[in-house]
């Protein structure tokens, strides 16, 4: 029995307005971090997964990401399980 973790990152799609990211970018520039590019503020989720069947969890996590953990209209997601 190896317990695993899914680490999920959800980010706003490129075409979606990201006022939070823009505000953070402005703040960074204002603080003297000159030359920083676009900032995107997203979400990070960790899910504890019992057992060792990585492939089975991969399918389930992908399904959950699509259905509830992200909104495909406005967000992209990626994840790893280890």
């Amino acid at each position: 029995m190896i317990d695993m973790k899914a680490r999920i990152i959800v980010t706003p799609k490129k075409a979606v307005l990201d006022p939070q990211g823009k505000t953070v970018q402005n703040a960074l520039e204002h603080m003297g971090y000159q030359g920083v590019g676009a900032v995107h503020v997203g979400k990070y989720l960790e899910i504890d997964l019992p057992g060792a069947d990585k492939e089975a969890w991969r399918k389930q996590i992908d399904d959950a990401c699509h259905k509830i953990l992200s909104n495909p209209v406005i967000e992209d997601y990626r994840f790893e399980i280890e």
Binding site: V16, L17, Q20, V73
Partner: protein
Amino acid sequence: MNFAVLQFPASNCDQDALHVVKDVLGQSARFVWHKENSLAGIDAVIIPGGFSYGDYLRTGAIARFSPIMEAVQAFAAHGGAVLGICNGFQILCEAGLLPGALIRNRSLQFRCESVFLKTTGQDSPFTNKIPNGKIMRLPIAHGEGCYFADETTLEKLKVNGQILWQYADAQGELTPSSNPNGSLWNIAGIRNEAGNVAGLMPHPERASEAILGGADGRLIFESLIFWLENKMARAA
């Protein structure tokens, strides 16, 4: 007509919505808790405003999986009228009953003020009592009301006449300064393709009596009642 006003944990405009349809407009109305799974005998569903499930994850994201929402999906698929107000609009978008999504206001501020709304299309269940050219004044109170959809979806909304309400100035012009949240095309409310499901960010239930400073919101509920009565007459 029999109205259902859904209640989720942290709904907070449910009492106002029920008050308007029941006490102000004389309809039969009852609360339906989100754990229920039947809408038997209901003619129209109102999903009220609030912060269902604390807005955790995304606004409306968790409420959309409550048991009652399966009944709402079936109800809507059979042509039942569903109106989502504020958080109710967000829930309908998350549920896929309306296209697009509501995201953080462009200003990053929670906006609580009155806005002017231009109505397009007087033939929907939600707008038929709104006089042509009427500019309604309704309150808003939200932090995540910026309507977003991709270009293809926006074009489709326009072509199908699905954009019901847009933020405007007092003269009905769709100016950037009259847009409180950065919504694309100043969109404040839309309907689905079939026409029986609509959502809007402003609060008609908070402006349906003169004592509250305005009664323009009544027009939306009166439209819905008129449409339901006609539908019933046609079925008889």
